[in-house]
Amino acid sequence: MEHITVTQIMFGVLSFVAILSAVLVIFSKNPVFSVLYLIVTFFAIAGHYILLNAQFLAVVHVIVYAGAIMVLFLFVIMMLNLNKETETHKAAWIQIAAVIAGGIMMVTLVGALKGADHMTLVQPNDVNIGLVNRLGTVLFTDFLIPFELSSVLFLAAMVGAVMLGKKSIH
């Protein structure tokens, strides 16, 4: 590839942002900052989605993750009053070990998947797959059963959260 295209630049920028903010999530002392960095990461990922023609998914992603899940995190952190550096710092070697393990994991994974570079497109790209109607069709035909069953999942999660979350009577 001789020229660096716009798309590639965008890919680079988004990737950089995603990775940087992910690193910051991990290394921020304050949980609230972690949440915020994570939201940044999510936005960067949403950007990738758009690059990949998954527009609908990008939207949903932002709504669900940034809008719902991360708010929930933030809410809990606030409620539990964890927005300061309460985390105990164990011996440095544990942290070093964790970093090394995680790092090796990362490197190994990257290395393991490097061989896949040669995989090329097998069919002409269809830009429309990310559109709502396409997704809807698939979801309500092929994936009907999982769709229905995820309701069970939600129900269970809901009831469970309530069960655990509410105060005991005695």
Partner: protein
């Protein structure tokens, strides 16, 4: 009549069963009647057979025993001159000793038990000599061992007696193992254990010397055990712990000669086993001399007789070893007469002395015990080899053959003569110390001195007659050597290889005879000179003894040697093995596996630290390892 021969062993067995099961309820006299009667009946039947036999060989089958592979073992009996001769000795002398026992054991609380055992012994002994195959012989062989065990330890409250009994049984078992292995080798070689088949087989394949040598040696190990030869003789002197009639019957007249019988029976094998025969002769002559030396300085009346028995058995084996089967068997017979007589006489003395057995405490019993004295003297002369008493003839026949034996014969002969000199010496020493001189016991004992009852003296007299004249069946240089002719069928096949015939009386043999007699007489003279003329009495304290005498007095410390070399190490080894190898090693290893599991577990469980961070760390590491190992 001969077909009823199976009754002969059965009779004592019946006697045993009756006494054993009903003995408590029977009166002592009834027990005696059953005990003696069954033996007498057996003796009578044996006599009947003896007269009907006419040199024939017959097999009497009682019942099938077992049959495995090529092995077909019956309870069947071989009636031939050899077995009949032994049967006569066993039942005849057995009967006499039974009668004697009625007097000797009078008043013993286990009177019935004693007779039961004796009858059982006779049963097994008859089985031993009558069996028509090695297995039945072995049955008798082990059976008499059992009876010997029971009778040596008859007075079971005494630990020493028990030890002696145990020792007898175990030492015998060592020999039995040899016998058993020899028997198995016979089976493997000849595919049978029946005498007739085995012998005809050996006859047909005589060249197989190596195997026969091995068989011979194995069998001889068995004989060594039973017949108290070096190195397995030590049990016999200890066996004197049993009641004296037992010593007479089992440990002098019959059981100990089982080894002789076995080798005589297997003569066909031994004549084809030159090395084995040489071993038999060598061990025999060594035992004869060795035991005689020990006999020289013993002070226990029965011990002297015991060593004398060992020594005499040595002569028998010497005879067998050089091929004088008839001579050996002849000596068995005469020995049975005079040695039984000696023991019974000794028993009579002990009886009179209220159980005292130490000859240093006796002396001058001639007057109080006239019959005993006379009969004892006859037996002493007989054993010393003075003509015309029985011992002379049998011993002479053996020595004559020994002299002619190729190679080592002369040496054996000289040793034999030395042995017989010593025999004459210690026997007369015993005789003089016991019956002559002044009484050295306590006054209490002196007061009690009495001649034994009729039931005891009668057998003495009968045996004395036999001991005196028993030799006539084998007088050499008569046209007919009675015994040899009688036994001829039994040794016929063996004689194909070896000349067992009596020597014709010639100048050579006469010279040998004269030398032997003179030597014995000289020994008797010395004994007379020392113990009668000078009234010397062996010292009570050991310390005064000269060194070599002390060693002999202690029987060359052979018992101590065995103790130190075999028994102690055995005990130590088993104890060590148990405490260290078994508990500290084998078992500890097994337990160690369990401990190791638990120890590992107690270490591994710390991986389960409870810290979820560590858990996930471990999971990650695992994934990394998987990826690294499988993908790179």
């Amino acid at each position: 009549m001969i077909q009823l021969a199976w009754l002969i062993p059965i009779l004592p067995l019946i006697g045993f069963l009756i006494i054993a099961f009903a003995g408590k309820k029977l009166s002592n006299s009834l027990v005696s009647i059953i005990g003696c009667g069954s033996i007498l009946a057996a003796f009578a039947m044996t006599l009947g057979i003896f007269f009907q036999l006419h040199g024939s060989t017959q097999t009497v089958k009682l019942l099938e025993w077992f049959s495995v592979g090529r092995m077909h073992i019956d309870f069947s009996f071989l009636i031939d001159p050899l077995s009949v001769l032994f049967m006569l000795v066993i039942t005849g002398i057995g009967f006499l000793i039974h009668v004697y026992s009625t007097g000797y054991m009078k008043g013993d609380e286990k009177y019935d038990r004693f007779f039961a055992y004796l009858n059982l012994f006779v049963f097994f002994m008859l089985l031993l000599v009558m069996g028509s195959n090695y297995i039945v012989m072995f049955v008798g062989w082990e059976g008499v061992g059992l009876c010997s065990y029971l009778l040596i330890g008859f007075w079971f409250k005494n630990t020493e007696y028990n030890n002696a009994a145990k020792k007898a049984f175990i030492v015998n078992r060592i020999g039995d193992l040899g016998f058993l292995l020899g028997m198995i080798l016979i089976y493997i070689t000849c595919n049978s254990l029946n005498f007739d088949t085995v012998f005809s087989n050996v006859h047909a394949n005589a060249s197989n010397k190596e195997v026969y040598n091995l068989i011979g040696i194995l069998l001889f190990i068995g004989a060594c055990g039973k017949s108290a030869q070096i190195p397995l003789y030590t049990w016999l002197p200890d066996a004197m712990a049993g009641p004296t009639p037992v010593s007479a019957l089992i440990h002098a007249a019959t059981m100990v000669t089982a080894g002789v019988y076995m080798i005589a029976r297997s003569s066909v094998i031994f004549v084809n086993a030159p090395i084995a025969s040489e071993v038999v002769a060598l061990v025999g002559v060594l035992t004869a001399v060795f035991a005689a030396t020990i006999g020289l300085f013993q002070n226990d009346i029965k011990k002297v007789l015991a060593y004398s028995t060992v020594s005499q058995l040595g002569y028998m084996f010497l005879g067998l070893g050089v091929g004088a089967f008839t001579g050996g068997v002849f000596h068995v017979m005469t020995h049975a007469f005079f040695k039984a007589l000696l023991f019974l006489g000794a028993g009579s003395v002990i009886h009179a002395m209220s159980g005292e057995q130490d000859i240093r405490k006796m002396g001058g019993l001639k007057k109080s015990l006239p019959i005993t004295h006379l009969t004892f003297l006859i037996a002493t002369i007989a054993i010393s080899g003075i003509p015309p008493f029985s011992g002379f003839f049998s011993k002479d026949e053996i020595l004559a053959h020994v002299y002619e034996h190729d190679g080592t014969g002369k040496i054996y002969w000289i040793l034999g003569i030395i042995g017989s000199i010593m025999t004459a010496f210690y026997m007369f020493r015993l005789y003089f110390l016991t019956f002559h001189g002044s009484f050295r016991g306590t006054s209490d004992q002196k007061h009690h001195l009495h001649e034994s009852p009729k039931s005891m003296t009668m057998p003495l007299v009968i045996l004395a007659v036999l001991a005196a004249i028993g030799g006539i069946v084998g007088i050499p240089n008569v046209n007919q050597h009675l015994l040899h002719d009688f036994l001829k069928p039994a040794f016929e096949s063996a004689s194909a290889w070896i000349d067992d015939a009596p020597k014709h009386f010639d100048m050579d043999e006469a010279r040998l005879m004269i030398i032997a007699v003179l030597a014995a007489s000289a020994a008797i003279y010395v004994a007379w000179y020392v113990y009668k003329k000078n009234n010397m009495v062996p010292k009570n304290t050991e310390t005064d003894l000269p060194k070599f005498q002390k060693i002999i007095y202690h029987k060359y410390y052979v018992d101590e040697f065995y103790n130190a070399v075999i028994r102690k190490p055995l005990d130590w080894l088993s104890d060590f093995g148990y405490k260290f190898v078994e508990l500290k090693f084998v078992d500890a290893f097994v337990n160690g596996v369990g401990t190791a599991v638990k120890w590992t577990g107690s270490v591994v469980r710390y991986a389960q630290s409870g810290n979820i961070g560590f858990y996930m760390f471990a999971m990650t590491i695992a994934v990394i390892i998987m990826l690294l190992v499988k993908l790179f």
